[in-house]
């Protein structure tokens, strides 16, 4: 009895002094957090500012102007690179969404030992370094396209779509599986009880339930493809160079302000896609933590 009382008194006393200390600790966290956020935004801000640089070299700022944006409009190579990226991104996202959605539904609704093996395959796909994917795809595509004479494997966009789809399929599968596992299968059972054929149940019940994850997966795949540099650098063929590969080439020969201008435009494009993802997930009822988990790739 008395021991507990002393403890209460002691703790009551101690809450008075740590109060000031605690708020100082909180201030430390806030300062650190904001400093890190500034650190994270610093190079992006620098690239955006330098895209308004009127000078021959990107790294030395001469004065403000829109010349670099005008240069993009007149530069056919850059315009073509952006176009290739957007086309590839759309096709890769479409492919990854279809394959990933089917696989995700299968894993969530038809469990069995095979799911475990399939998850191991997806895990392998997601942990393999991009550079390994890149160096293995290059000889394989050459074999298919030249030795076996399958000429569509020489098509630049198709090669890029293959390379960009691998990781995205894994991401979409995870997302769709996670969403459907969180939802009860009763709705589908009810639909079957009401004599809907399996295909109708799939189209009218399962797919709409999975839709937020499918949409999020599509947009994430689009962004991933738009950003993919390493695999693209290896599998792309002359004539269909995506914009990150064009920029990587420019890093070697010398950076001009147009590079920053293209980057700024692509940054805006990426942000719009991500804002749509966040909106879709939020309307589907996800919290900030859920969205963070989804966006970090499952």
């Amino acid at each position: 009895m008395t021991a507990t009382d002393t403890r209460t008194i002691l703790s009551a006393k101690s809450t008075v002094t740590p109060r000031a200390k605690r708020s100082r600790g909180d201030l430390g966290f806030t300062v650190w957090g904001i400093a890190v956020l500034v650190f994270l935004f610093l190079p992006i801000a620098v690239v955006v500012v330098y895209s308004f640089n009127v000078g021959r070299l990107l790294t030395s700022f001469t004065h403000f102007g829109f010349d670099s944006f005008a240069a993009i409009v007149s530069n056919e190579v850059v315009r073509n690179a952006v176009l290739v990226s957007v086309q590839t991104g759309f096709l890769a996202a479409l492919l990854a969404s279809v394959l990933g959605t089917l696989a995700g539904i299968a894993m969530a609704r038809h469990p069995g030992k095979w799911v475990w093996w399939f998850l191991v395959l997806l895990l392998l796909v997601s942990v393999t370094p991009e550079i390994v994917d890149a160096v293995s795809l290059l000889p394989w595509l050459v074999t298919l396209g030249q030795d076996w004479g399958l000429s569509f494997f020489n098509n630049g966009i198709f090669r890029l779509v293959i390379g960009h789809s691998l990781f995205s399929i894994a991401v979409v599968s995870y997302l769709v599986r996670a969403r459907l596992i969180g939802l009860d299968a009763q709705l589908e059972e009810a639909s079957a009880d009401l004599y809907a054929p399996p295909l109708t149940t799939f189209r009218r019940v399962t797919l709409p339930l999975a839709m937020p994850a499918v949409l999020a997966g599509f947009l994430l795949s689009f962004t991933l493809s738009l950003d993919n540099t390493v695999i693209a650098a290896f599998v792309s063929v002359a004539g269909s160079t995506p914009w990150p590969v064009y920029i990587l080439g420019a890093v070697r020969t010398g950076l001009r302000p147009e590079i920053a201008a293209v980057s700024t435009i692509m940054l805006v494009l990426t942000l719009v896609a991500l804002a749509v993802v966040a909106l879709v997930l939020k309307r589907a009822g996800d919290s900030a933590a859920d969205i963070a988990r989804t966006m970090a790739g499952g």
């Binding site: 942990v127 370094p129 293995s136 394989w140 599968s173 990150p244 990587l248 980057s263 991500l274 969205i291």
Partner: protein, 309 residues
């Protein structure tokens, strides 16, 4: 019936990944046992051997592996040290209404093109850039770290930091205020609450963050190409060189396989160490937990984390 339907639905994805992931990577494993025939050939497999792996272990190439491992381990630890307080702040200290905004702020750099962010650093670190100018004005001399190992380290810490913060945020957020308050009510200090409540529960998130940073960091190609010179050389670049310029697919394949093996081995060793460090803590918890009799607050204050560990 249901199982068959499942396999049919997953078949397209499975076939696609088999054809464009398993087979090509299988070929690379196969190439790694071959050799480079003459100047114009890229690979030959009529004589199989482990010679390419031995070649990878010679000092010239092995130095790059050591360098990559150093950057990988130091970079991952630095991301953890820098990112953990940020994630804790976002999940616990910051007002809940601001949480979504903070997550979005971390996500924007994460989803900005990797190459663009790295080029941003190249502009900042350039010897004739503005930061160098400020440093010269302050009498610190010109900034001269571009194309060195510190520049690559800075670049990888920057590039992979969001991958650490996001899973840590999710993990800290999952703990929730209830358990922390219970711990405080039972007389535990802030450090005790963190070490014995928050940390054990969020451990999966910490492990996820470390893996999400370490694995891609080890295979990094872009940061090292843009910010590193000869000194900042990493395995990713070396593999690329073997395939693109040296045209030695056998050696490049062996390097790629070695990269994967080193990542797996380091991860296993790291987890082993963490497990070993955790042994005394788990033992202590068990000892405290065992005397079930109602010896009041002492046992009660340790039970929640004993249950979680």
């Amino acid at each position: 019936m249901r199982k068959k339907a499942g396999i049919a639905l997953a078949f397209p994805a499975w076939a696609w990944l088999l054809f464009f992931f398993v087979i090509p990577v299988g070929y690379v494993v196969w190439f790694s046992f071959g050799y480079k025939p003459g100047i114009f050939g890229t690979h030959a497999n009529d004589v199989l051997s482990f010679d390419r792996y031995l070649e990878v272990l010679t000092p010239t190439f092995f130095a790059t592996f050591q360098n990559t491992l150093w950057i990988g381990v130091v970079g991952t630890l630095a991301c953890l040290a820098i990112g953990a307080p940020v994630a804790y702040w976002m999940a616990v200290k910051a007002p809940p209404s601001k949480r979504g905004l903070l997550v979005a702020l971390v996500m924007v750099p994460f989803w900005t093109n990797f190459l663009v962010r790295t080029i941003g650093w190249q502009i900042i670190l350039a010897p004739n850039g503005w930061l160098s100018g400020i440093m010269q004005a302050m009498g610190l001399g010109p900034l001269d770290i571009l194309y060195t190992r510190p520049a690559v380290l800075l670049g990888v810490i920057y590039n992979y930091l969001p991958l650490m913060i996001l899973p840590l945020f999710v993990a800290f957020d999952r703990v929730g205020p209830a358990l922390r308050e219970a711990s405080k009510d039972l007389g535990a200090g802030r450090w005790t609450t963190f070490l014995r409540i928050t940390l054990p529960i969020s451990r999966p998130g910490v492990l996820a963050g470390v893996l999400l940073v370490f694995i891609p960091l080890m295979g990094d190609y872009i940061t090292a190409t843009i910010l590193g010179g000869a000194k900042g050389n990493m395995i990713g670049q070396m593999v690329a060189t073997q395939f693109q310029t040296a045209q030695n697919w056998a050696l490049g394949s062996a390097m790629a396989i070695m990269l994967i093996l080193i990542v797996l081995l380091t991860t296993a060793v790291g987890f082993g160490l963490v497990w070993l460090v955790g042994v005394p803590m788990r033992l202590r918890n068990r000892v405290v937990l065992d005397p079930v009799p109602a010896s009041t607050a002492v046992a009660a204050s340790t039970s929640p984390n004993g249950g979680a560990a």
